[in-house]
Amino acid sequence: MEGIFTYAPAIALLPLAAFVVALCFGNAMPKKGAIAGIFATAGSLGLSLLMLAAVASGEVHHETYYQWAAGETAGHSAAQGIEFTFGILIDPLSALMLVIVSLIALLVHVFSLGYMNAEGETGLPRYYAELGLFTFSMLAFVYADNLLMAFMFFELVGLCSYLLIGFWFRTESAPSAAKKAFLVTRFGDYFFLVGVVAIGATFGTLAFAGDNSFVAQAEAALDGGETLFGFDARTWITITGLLVLGGVIGKSAQFPLQTWLPDAMEGPTTVSALIHAATMVAAGVYLVARMFGYYALSPTALGIIAFVGGFTALFAASMAVVKDDIKQVLAYSTISQYGYMMLGLGVGGYVAGVFHLMNHAFFKALLFLGAGAVIILMHHEQNMWKMGGLKEKAPVTYYTFLAGALALAGIIPFSGFWSKDEVLYDALILGLENQLYLAAYAMGLIAVFFTGFYTFRMVVLTFHGEPRSEAAEDPHDIGWSVKAPLIVLGLLSLTAGIANLAPVGKLLDMDIMFLEMWLDGHYGGLEELTYGAYSDTLAHETGAIAGSEQTTLLVGAALSLGLALSGAGLAWTLYSGSDPAQHTQRLGSVRELLRSNYYQDEFQVWLAEGLTLPVARTADRFDQSVIDGVVDGVSSVSLFGSGWIKRIQTGIVTNYAALIVGGFVGLLVVLGVYGGWFV
């Protein structure tokens, strides 16, 4: 199997080729470049599956392909070489993620045939080119073997989001949303870049894996009790880890940088599916998993990750409750779900976090594509209050969407239940030993109730009851290019949980936790990048309810399932029926608070327009009047004040020109005579 790794670069390069082809020849091609994209992503998926099989057979691929730049670190006194390279690391984590990304990308391409081509959009070559570039950037990010390469493609992912969110650039709102997405995530990336620079300058390497990885260097520094940049090693690792986390918080839309994501709904729904499930937003959490060994060295950083995640899960879920636009509900659910992943990783649940990342990719792609199908059905209406009764008219859409919704809400046996339960379980057992973490657990648990509620509010309003508009009475047709991806993802949402049935495995004492074994290197992997190695570094003490793992498992599962069901049930009671009432009025002032997203957008707009812009304008006025004023003042005193000089200030440029040229020639002649040119 090892030979297959020769083709590893092609996984990312195929979509890059599709980008070039669609950009240059898209207009002349059938389907305006879609075909190129579909072939490329299908090729990537095929190769990714082969990589997965190779890793399963015990192989790992870690190779440097290209030296981008090399030089010496730090000052001249302690010169030490550093190489910035492009390399590929295919281990269990990245192989899994490659499959997820290329699969979702392929399905999104196929779905686009029905969503974009069939709807007569213009600018399709641009659309498919940007999708290709997006897929390329994300795949290259996923198998990057060092932090700088990861950062570079992380940024390119941001660029592609900007381009695709702003796809409908003729409107006012799409360019604005695109700008916001790029700016807010760039704010996070600023910290990330400082972190990259700091880690590189500290350890002289940015490699994720190997004896010389920055993680290994950091461990050595810890063991040696070194002082780094004036801090003790642990503190410096925490600081640099948190700097990198800035980028994660931006891209994965965690509090307080989540504001760009709901606005990003201005892009085509297919793009939302890609951004939310497999690329942009997933990149942040994936990065934490990728360098989990580094975070494992800093309990403080992990604790912050857990709390940011827990808080975001609850915070975003509460806002999703009052939204009217189907895509808005999904957007807030994405923020909330990534909060769960952060919570899972933060409490040391590496497997749980990655498991939820995988499941979420499937069910969120499903829900967004389902929402896209609904939008086609509804003749481009997105307000759920104008929908209703689509259940009978579009059964494929309904049942697949329902599968995604059940997974999102965390209802057994759908995939989301298993991974969310595992995240909460990991938080619970850590919290039982270290009570501080119980707070993070509690936030995650309460969010389960909200999740159940808003998910079923969405399902009921969209599909049940009576049609509430003309569009809902007479839905548009949808084709197979739309249905096929939905069915694939629907099946995955139902079954993906099998990958890691942790409660079942633990209760029945069966070895069926495949994902855990996969990430622990049972099939193959690098020793230092396994779940076991991370757990050893962390050395978390965990507790159990009544001293029994089984009881803890059951209590935890019952709690989260019960809350999810009661949330769903409440939504069902409130909104089913032929003509549901809005109910949100009853929330009173809380409703306004939630609908305005806790006024956080206002705050950020104020930061940009109320603070930075006036500061900039003041600086500009200062510059014009004071600094330039001094310059003009000095010149009028010294030059124009003199009567002699005034006479040659004729104001005619050619006169000056003659003077200057004459003077210059004169100078040359003098020098020439002096130098003996003319002798």
């Binding site: 030296q67 981008w68 730049a69 090399a70 030089g71 010496e72 730090a74 000052g75 001249h76 006194s77 302690a78 010169a79 700088l148 570079m152 493609f153 940024e155 390119l156 660029l159 702003g166 650039f169 003729r170 006012e172 799409a174 360019p175 604005s176 695109a178 700008k179 790029f182 700016l183 760039r186 600023y190 870049l193 400082v194 620079v197 700091a198 590189g200 300058a201 500290t202 940049f229 940009a608 930075t612 812009l613 900039a616 600086a619 500009d620 510059d623 600094i627 310059v631 010149s635 104001g651 440029v653 050619t654 000056y656 020109a657 200057i660 210059f664 100078l667 020098l671 002096y674 130098g675």
Partner: protein
């Protein structure tokens, strides 16, 4: 003789173009400019130099040529030219940018063409001279001579306030040159040398330092005073806050090709001179005394320049002020005094030359079509001019330091070199502050894009805005290709640069 050939062709070409009919001047100048461009690219491939041209420690100066020229008393002035890894990329940048600037002038320049293109070639000759001269007097002649054609380009073909802008540019940078000239000549007189050849002066300076007392100063105090005076002189040229106010005025009034050269090459004269003189000739102890203040000013230039750009409503002013910001990074890299810092600063000189040239060209093409540069007037241009707008977007992201474009490589090298610098106190803190520029630059460029090229098309004109002709677009694609090539493979020039930078860092100088 290669360098003489380069300068000679440009000078001769300038004369020929000057007397050629207006009708063919543009095409003729283009054809002539291809010669230096091709020659310099050939020199790039045939480059066999090593080490730093000013530091004679086993290195080889490429294409070296030296003839004694003038004797002033006991002092010798020579025609002494040559290239090393720092100057060669800048020479190639100059020749390529001149050729592209000539092509980009075909549309907007319709008055006294032969003089215009003649001046462009004349400026090329002098710029090549600045980057190749290794004798102070020779260098200074070229340095001053660059001002003349630029003054005329702004003053004759400029916008409504061209006279004010041209005079301000000329007087301001000339006064600064005077300060620098005085300071340097003072230093030379205090040294044990009888030549104005820069390598000899550098050696004398680093090995023995000032031997005589001048104005009651000697040794370290004299060297420090000269360092400061020269820094101030070059600071105007770069420009560094607070000496930057001539720049936006000059840019706004200058015709597009002049802006391209002003931002693309002329600003680099200042940073190149800082590197060649202040950071090469002076021993570490002199530099280090000024390191923190200079780094602080660099960080201020970055942030303050970016804030000024944010406040502008004229697209060209936005780009003009952003140069202040970008040049701040160069200064930070220089004063970090590490391989990546100084190497990155040099890389940034080349990269910024390409990227700002691209941006000014794109703004120019849009201006040619819309006759406005005000962001408040423009809207939705993407539909009307897809290629030009596409280039503007690409250029904007290059400016923001998007990876796989040259701007990222440059900025990353600088940040990396400066963060870990042991030479510069508080290096991590100052670097982190300066790095925040990457957020503000995204802010003002994305805001400008949102206003100018996206949204519904609203501009009311009494003529149809059509797509720009190919010869307006092609130069921008050439630049974009180079920007991406350097971003993907920075080692194309970075190895060469670090080879010339290393001796500077190793040669600390002990008196």
């Amino acid at each position: 003789m290669m360098i003489e050939l380069l300068i000679g062709v440009a000078l001769l070409g300038a004369l020929v173009t000057f007397v050629a009919p207006n009708r063919i001047a543009g095409k003729l100048a283009f054809a002539i400019s291809l010669v230096p461009a091709a020659l310099s690219v050939y020199m790039f491939t045939a480059f066999d130099g090593s080490g730093n041209a000013l530091l004679a420690d086993g290195g080889v100066i490429a294409f070296e040529s030296s003839t004694e020229w003038i004797r002033l008393g006991e002092y010798t002035i020579s025609w002494f030219v040559g290239l090393d890894g720092i100057s060669l990329p800048l020479v190639v940048l100059t020749t390529v940018l001149i050729t592209l600037a000539i092509v980009s002038s075909w549309t907007p320049i319709d008055d006294r063409e032969s003089q215009f293109y003649g001046l462009l070639l004349f400026i090329e000759a002098n710029l090549i001279g600045v980057f190749t001269a290794l004798d102070f007097f020779l260098w200074f002649i070229f340095w001053e001579a660059v001002l003349i054609p630029m003054y005329l380009l702004i003053g004759i073909w400029g916008g409504p306030r061209r006279k004010y802008a041209a005079i301000k540019f000329f007087v301001y940078t000339n006064v600064a040159s005077l300060v620098m000239f005085g300071a340097f000549v003072t230093l030379v007189f205090s040294l044990d040398v009888t030549t104005f050849a820069l390598p000899a002066i550098t050696t004398a300076m680093l090995e023995t330092g000032p031997q005589a007392e001048i104005f009651g100063l000697g040794g370290t105090s004299l060297a420090s005073a000269v360092f400061l005076a020269m820094f101030l002189g070059f600071a105007v040229k770069v420009p560094i806050v607070p000496f930057h106010t001539w720049l936006p005025d000059a840019h706004v009034e200058a015709p597009t090709p002049a802006s391209v050269l002003l931002a693309g090459v002329l600003l680099k004269m200042g940073t190149y001179a800082l590197l060649r003189f202040n950071f090469t000739m002076f021993p570490e102890e002199v530099i280090s005394a000024f390191a923190v203040p200079i780094a602080a000013i660099a960080a201020i230039s970055v942030i303050y320049g970016a804030l000024l750009a944010l406040a502008q409503t004229d697209l060209k002013r936005v780009v003009a002020y952003s140069s202040v910001s970008s040049m701040g990074y160069v200064i930070l890299g220089l004063v970090a005094f590490t391989q990546f810092g100084v190497g990155g600063a040099t890389f940034q000189m080349v990269s910024h030359g390409l990227v700002s040239g691209l941006m000014f060209m794109a703004v120019g093409v849009i201006y040619n079509a819309t006759h406005t540069r005000m962001l408040t007037d423009m809207s939705g241009l993407a539909d009307k001019m897809p290629l030009a707008v596409g280039v503007l977007i690409a250029g904007s992201f290059a400016y923001m330091g998007l990876p796989l474009m040259s701007g990222f490589a440059a900025e990353y090298f600088i940040f990396f070199g400066s963060f870990g610098s042991e030479f510069l106190e508080y290096a991590p803190l100052i670097t982190a502050v300066a790095m925040f520029g990457i957020v503000i630059v995204a802010g003002y460029l994305l805001f400008a894009l949102q206003r100018a090229v996206f949204g519904p098309y609203l501009l009311e004109t009494d003529y149809e805005i059509g797509r720009a002709p190919l010869h307006d677009i092609a130069p921008m694609f050439v630049l974009l290709a180079i920007i991406i090539a350097l971003g993907v493979a920075p080692e194309l020039i970075f190895d060469m640069i670090t080879d010339a930078v290393d001796p500077i860092l190793e040669n600390g100088g002990e008196w």
